[in-house]
Symmetry: C2
Amino acid sequence: METLTELKQQAQRQKDHVVSVANAADEEVLLAVKKAIEQSLCSFLLVGSKIEIEKLARTVELDLTKEQITIIHVDSNPSRAAVKAVHDRKADILMKGNVSTKDLLKAVLDKECGLRTGGVLSHVALFEIPNQERLVFLTDAAMNLTPTLQEKEQIINNAVQIARGVNISNPNVAVLAAVEVVNPAMQATIDAALLTQMQKRNQIKGCTVDGPLAFDNAVSRKSANHKDIYSDVAGNADILLVPTIEVGNALYKSFMYFAEARVAAVISGAKAPIVLTSRTDSSDSKLNSLSLALVSSKTF
Amino acid sequence: METLTELKQQAQRQKDHVVSVANAADEEVLLAVKKAIEQSLCSFLLVGSKIEIEKLARTVELDLTKEQITIIHVDSNPSRAAVKAVHDRKADILMKGNVSTKDLLKAVLDKECGLRTGGVLSHVALFEIPNQERLVFLTDAAMNLTPTLQEKEQIINNAVQIARGVNISNPNVAVLAAVEVVNPAMQATIDAALLTQMQKRNQIKGCTVDGPLAFDNAVSRKSANHKDIYSDVAGNADILLVPTIEVGNALYKSFMYFAEARVAAVISGAKAPIVLTSRTDSSDSKLNSLSLALVSSKTF
């Protein structure tokens, strides 16, 4: 897959997927629902106050009688109800509506009717960069601050699961650091070398891991060759694993603001993909993220 | 200044600047020297083995009899001799030739005839990004691994000095983190808030500091406004200060490989600017870096 447009087309070819929206009473959210239905992406459970949803649906001219829409009225705690619908297999994907991320994740992590798997949740973003031939994943740019080695292992697994959704069966994972050599003074290089060997020993499966790699060695074969680095991953990375949230966040934003990227992002690590779009996301980003959740839901 | 081409033009308008090259016996280095002279940038002290320099000069068709060239023959330790020439005011700028960075910096830090000032040395890179209106500095992407608060203060001072060279009299310094709020679990946000207040108390001078800022708040006014952040720096940063080398290195490479940037870079913090171009740098980058060193040498 080379573009996010292809991602959306793949999502459109899937049938009968249902997205559970935690508090759909929000103009921006209902606009995204409207566009998703127009583009035949999926069906929706709109969880929240029925009266409020109906009122805002009129504002954005969304026809609530469409067969793709079911309203689940709740007086309170729409997060819990939306999560429970996924837990009960009435929906395949969870989407944040007009609730706080904190509230939503609290419901996701509920022991009784939540979606926890025991592992960490992590943010997985997929970028289309204008001057790059392949799409590239970046993780974790938003959830885990300074992951430990074991958390990094889970973050890799979470991203590999999403990559399988876009039909990358054995993704190349580049573990980023500032240099390509193990330096005991740089924890990122230590963890990178360990993760590489852990994959070789089958402690990490379903992907090929290599690190430490600097950003350029990960994405440019020429740059890797210059440093005499020859591996399946170097210059050919599908997934960039960053050492800290500061690296991930800065890269994410530099891709968007300086490299004019398009992005799709989901939360992985629960029993279903979670879409956490925010108010500032473009309409394009929102539908891309929904598409990424839809195509990867089969791997959950 | 909006482009690195203007930077080079500013360097060309300066007269009588001399660059001391630590071991000029290298084809790539002599090619850069040749181009710099063709473009009327500066004069050179070529330190190293006279016989070897003469041999390689023939290979790259560099005329060593030009008035801009002086050869200083040494049998050994060209780093020390090149640094001493700057120490003795026979040259304004130090440039790495065919020596290791380690050897060069050892000579720079020599107590007797080195160039130390007592502060940290730091890497300062200036980028021209195709879709951005203004040039932006990034520091430190190469020298300091995990700088302390006091080291960050010095890294700011070092970058401000270079910014003055390109006629930014009071640069806006954005202290980057993954979020815009102080979070005790994220050291980058703590240091950012402290540096901001230190500048307000005149502990840091000659610039305006604001942080923590995420990358987008630093470079996009629209993004900053979305988060209700209003400051001289937000959306208007001249200098991006990163918390760790991992952030700096990844951003540097993402600018170059994904955003198709042009770059100029120097080492600041010694008694003169130091140019550390590497074999893999393009000819454009080398001359840009030399230009940045030339225009900023007046501030040392």
